[in-house]
Amino acid sequence: MGEPAEKNGHFTKDKGIDEGCRRLTPEKIESVVKKMLDTEAGARMKVYVETCVHCGLCSEACHYYNSHDGDPTFSPAGKVKQTLWELIRKKGRVSVDFIRRATEISYTECNLCKRCAMYCPMGIDVAYMMLFVRRICHFLGTSPQYIQDTAHSHSATMNQMWVKEDEWIDTLFWQEEEARDEMAGLEIPMDKEGADVMYSVIGPEPKFRAQLIYQAAVIFNAAGIDWTMPSTTGWDNSDMCMYTGDNDMMARLKRTHYETAMKLKVNRIVMGECGHAFRSVYDVGNRALGWRMPPVPMVHGIEFYAELFREKKIRVAKKYEPPVTIHDPCNVIRGRGLHEELRYVTHQICENVVEMTPNREHNYCCAAGGGVINCGPPFKNKRVEGNRTKADQLKDVKAQGVKTCIAPCHNCHGGLEDIIHGYELGLELKFLGDIIYEVMEK
C-alpha cells in the first residue's frame, strides 16, 4: 500500500476519477445532476441549502480545516459551496473539472464524521450533503478506483475483500485450530442454528487481521457464550457501497447480513470492533430496507465486552499496565453514544487511562473513516496531512506518558497508524479485543 501519491496540477491522480472523467460529457453531467435534484433531493436538502446562513461556525469542527491552518476551502460549509451549492445554482451545467474536484472533495476531504453537525447552530447535516454529492459521482462513474473496487467486491462476493467462500471457511478452521493450541476444546461454531449470538466481522479481518478472529474466539469460549459464525455470505458486516453512494447495493448487503442472522435464528448479532460497519447495520442499511431500527437486535463489540465484564463472564488476571488513551470513533460514539461504555471497558482492563482532549462525542475524527482510507494510496498523504489535529491530540497524551492508543474501530486503526508513522509519534495501537485477550483469565 505504499505507492506514492501523484498530483496532476490541482488534482490528485486516481485511475477511477481520471477514467471516469474522461468519459464524461457536459450533457451527461447535466442530466444526472438534474435527475438527482429532481428525484432524490427532497425538502431536507432544500431546507439545508436555504437555511445555512453562511456563518462559517462549522469550520472549527473539521480536522481538515484545522490541520490546514484554517484554509476555508476545507471548512464544511466551504466544501458544500464548492460542490452542492454550485450544482444547484447552475442546475448541473458544470464542467468535467468541476465534477473531478467535487469527487475529490466529497470522497477524500470529508470523513462524514458529523462533528460539524454539533457546531452548526442550525443543525445542518453536512455529511448528508456530501453523501448526496458522492451519489451523483457514483452515477457519473467518477468514484475513486480503490473504493470502487471494494464496492465491486461487495457486489460480486457480498464481502469487501474478494474473499471466496472456501477461503472464508478455511480461515475460520485455521483460526480455530490455532486457538486450540492455547485453549483446549475451543470452537468456532459455524452455522449453529438457534445460537444466542451471531458474530459478524468485516471483510478485512479474514484478509489481513485473522488474529482478531482468533482473539474473539478465545473471548467467546472463555465467557461461555453460545455463539456462531455463518459460513455463507452475510458473514461480512462491512459496507463500502454506503460510502460510494451505491445505495441499492448497500441495501442488498444489509439484507443479506440480517437475513443470515434470521436464518440462523439467533437472538442477536454481535459485531466486531468496526465503526463504519456499525453505522451501516445500525443506522443506514436498516433505513434503506424500510426498517426503523435494525430488524435483528445487534450490539457493537464495545457493548458486548461491557456486558461480559458486568456479568463477570470474563475476569481480568492482571490489568494492562502501560498508560493508554482512548480514541472515540465517530460511528459508535457520535453515532451510538457508546463513550461511557468504552470507558467502562477500558478501565476494567487498563491500569492507567489518560483522556485525550477533546473526547467523547467531541473527539476529532481519524481522517480515515467515511471511506476515505478506502480511496487508497493516492490519497494517503492528503489524509495524513489533513489530520495534524489528531497528531497534536496524540502528542499531548504522549507527553503525559501514554504508550498505547485504544481505537475500537478498523478504519480508525488504519488512519491512526498512518498518522502515528507520519508524525513519528511512536505510539502503539490496540483494539479492546487485543487487550482483553492479553489480560483475561483464560
Binding site: C52, P121, R287
Partner: protein, 220 residues
C-alpha cells in the same frame, strides 16, 4: 408625500403581512408535504423530547461547545436576534398603532430608553456580522451578495427607527423608510435566507432527534 405615506402605512402594511404569513405558511406546508414524500426519516425519527433538549441548549447563550468557543458570535447572535424578533412587539409606537388600527387591545411596552438601547445593540451586532463577513476567512469564503442583502434588510428597520425616533435630520423621510423597510423585511422572510426564522426549529429539531433518540449522543 402624504399620499405615499398613507399608502406605505396603509395598504402596503397589509400586503407585507399577507406576503409574510401567506408565504411562510405556503412554504412550510409545501415543504412539509414534500418532506413526507421524499424524506420519511424526518417525521419517523422526530422525537419531541430531544427536539426541545437540543433547542434548549442552542437557545442558551454559551450553552454549547460551539457558542463557548466563539464568544463574540455568541453574544452578537443572541443580542441581534433578541432585538430583531422580540423588540418590535414591545415598542410603544407599534403597540399604539396596532391597538388603534386593528386589534383594539394593547399590552405593556418597554421603556423608550430600553428600546433605544436595544436598537443600537441590533445595529452594532449587524455591523459585527458585516465586518466578520469581510475579514474572517471562513465566513468570507462562503459569503455571497445575498448575505449582505439580507443583513441590510434585517438591520434597516432599526437604523431608520433610531433615526426617526431621535428626529435626526431628514427624519420625516426616515419614518417613511422605517415603515417601508419593516415591510420589506416581513415580505422577504419567506423567500430569502431569513426563512431560517421558521426553519431553524425544524433543522435543529431533526438533528436533535437523530442525535438524541437514535445516536444517544449530545448535539451541542
Amino acid at each position: 408625500m402624504h399620499d405615499i405615506y398613507s399608502f406605505v402605512s396603509g395598504p402596503l402594511v397589509w400586503v407585507a403581512f399577507i406576503i409574510f404569513f401567506g408565504g411562510s405558511a405556503v412554504k412550510i406546508l409545501a415543504w412539509n408535504s414534500l418532506c413526507k414524500k421524499k424524506d420519511p426519516t424526518v417525521h419517523n425519527y422526530w422525537s419531541w423530547i430531544h427536539v426541545f433538549k437540543s433547542l434548549r441548549h442552542w437557545l442558551t447563550p454559551f450553552g454549547t461547545l460551539g457558542w463557548k468557543s466563539n464568544p463574540g458570535m455568541c453574544i452578537a447572535t443572541f443580542a441581534f436576534h433578541l432585538g430583531v424578533v422580540i423588540l418590535p412587539f414591545f415598542i410603544y409606537a407599534h403597540i399604539i398603532l396596532l391597538e388603534e388600527s386593528v386589534l383594539g387591545i394593547g399590552w405593556p411596552a418597554v421603556p423608550d430608553s430600553v428600546a433605544d438601547t436595544m436598537s443600537i445593540i441590533v445595529v452594532v451586532a449587524a455591523l459585527y456580522f458585516l465586518i466578520r463577513r469581510i475579514i474572517v476567512p471562513e465566513a468570507k469564503y462562503v459569503t455571497s451578495f445575498s448575505d449582505y442583502a439580507v443583513l441590510a434588510i434585517a438591520a434597516a428597520p432599526f437604523i431608520t427607527g433610531f433615526w426617526a425616533y431621535h428626529h435626526l435630520p431628514g427624519y420625516s423621510v426616515a419614518g417613511l423608510l422605517h415603515i417601508l423597510s419593516g415591510e420589506i423585511m416581513l415580505a422577504a422572510i419567506p423567500f430569502t435566507r431569513l426563512s431560517h426564522m421558521f426553519f431553524f426549529p425544524f433543522t435543529r429539531g431533526y438533528i436533535g432527534s437523530e442525535f438524541g433518540a437514535v445516536r444517544h449522543a449530545r448535539d451541542w
